[in-house]
């Protein structure tokens, strides 16, 4: 029998104030293509995966630990976790 799984989402993004070089470049390119109304572009990472378990709260704790340990560079990045 398959163990129950949860769907995990982890959003990793640069802390405010940290220069977002990707965002800056994308914004420049969008302006170049005529989309002048675009501003403050920030580019982050979204990781999605399956996680064994059935308790969303416990899973969130795990996800946070994964972020601290591996998924985010907490010197410059923040993260948000979601479980469904």
């Amino acid at each position: 029998m398959k163990a129950p799984t949860l769907k995990a989402k982890v959003h990793v993004f640069l802390k405010p104030g940290v220069l977002d070089v990707q965002g800056k470049a994308v914004e420049g390119a969008l302006h170049g293509l005529g989309w002048d109304g675009v501003a403050n572009v920030r580019v982050g990472k979204l990781l999605e995966f399956d996680l064994d378990g059935s308790d969303p709260e416990a899973a969130k704790g795990e996800l946070k630990a994964m972020c601290e340990k591996l998924l985010a560079n907490t010197v410059i990045e923040s993260y948000k976790v979601e479980v469904a």
């Binding site: 990707q22 470049a25 420049g28 390119a29 170049g32 293509l33």
Partner: protein, 223 residues
């Protein structure tokens, strides 16, 4: 031979390409800025050089493919002018739809710079005719996203039409079917990850890039 080398913000092999064409075939080379809407007339070759156009920040080649000069390149390509995209140039060609497929992150997730051996898979193209019956060539390559990908159907058609021009002897990045360089169906647009522009004289460790430019001169003279 009259050639144009495109220059995008972040191109860094533009001068290398110019030097390669000048040194190996004594060609005349004009540098063309990415915001130009027209290319010089009477070109035999358009080179899209390597580098990190726009920092490669969104996806390699994505932003460059939208630049004004690429619209002009598309028109020239349709007219049959030879287009050579090297490294970032290959990525730009795929992003702009001039070549099929896409270049993904290297399977090792790292930038890999090393001399690499390639088999010449199609020696009848206008880019490879001067290789004679040489079976393999050495060139260096350096990239983080050289992992060629195409869906099954596209891959089959690329293979069926002999569009694979170069294959890696040892696959450095996970490319499907060891593909290092492909040509379009019409046979005038070639994209490749390894650098013929860094292999045009023995002092650089290999001169195996030079015959590519010689092939193009031949093709230009025949035309």
């Amino acid at each position: 031979m009259k050639a144009a080398v495109l220059v995008f913000p972040g191109s860094n092999c533009d001068r290398d390409c110019k030097t390669a064409v000048e040194t190996s075939v004594n060609g005349k080379v004009e540098m063309v800025w990415h915001q130009e809407t027209e290319l010089p007339s009477g070109l035999d070759l358009i080179v899209i050089p390597g580098g990190f156009s726009y920092g490669d920040y969104l996806r390699c080649g994505a932003m460059a493919s939208q630049s004004p000069v690429m619209a002009a390149v598309k028109r020239e390509a349709e007219r049959g002018v030879s287009v050579l995209g090297i490294c970032n140039g290959f990525q730009i060609l795929c992003e702009s739809g001039l070549l099929p497929g896409a270049l993904l992150r290297n399977s090792g997730l790292k930038y890999v710079c090393k001399p690499i051996e390639l088999t010449i898979e199609n020696r009848t193209t206008r880019f490879t005719s001067a290789y004679g019956n040489k079976q393999t060539v050495w060139m260096t390559q350096g990239n983080g996203d050289g992992n060629f990908f195409a869906d099954a159907e596209t891959l089959k058609s690329i293979e069926d039409n002999d569009q694979v021009v170069f294959r890696y002897v040892e696959n450095p990045n996970g490319s499907m079917n060891n593909i290092a360089g492909i040509i379009n169906k019409a046979g005038n647009v070639l994209g490749m990850m390894p650098h013929p522009d860094r292999a045009f004289e023995e002092a650089l460790g290999s001169a195996d890039g030079a015959p590519m430019f010689k092939s193009l001169v031949r093709a230009a003279q025949a035309a």
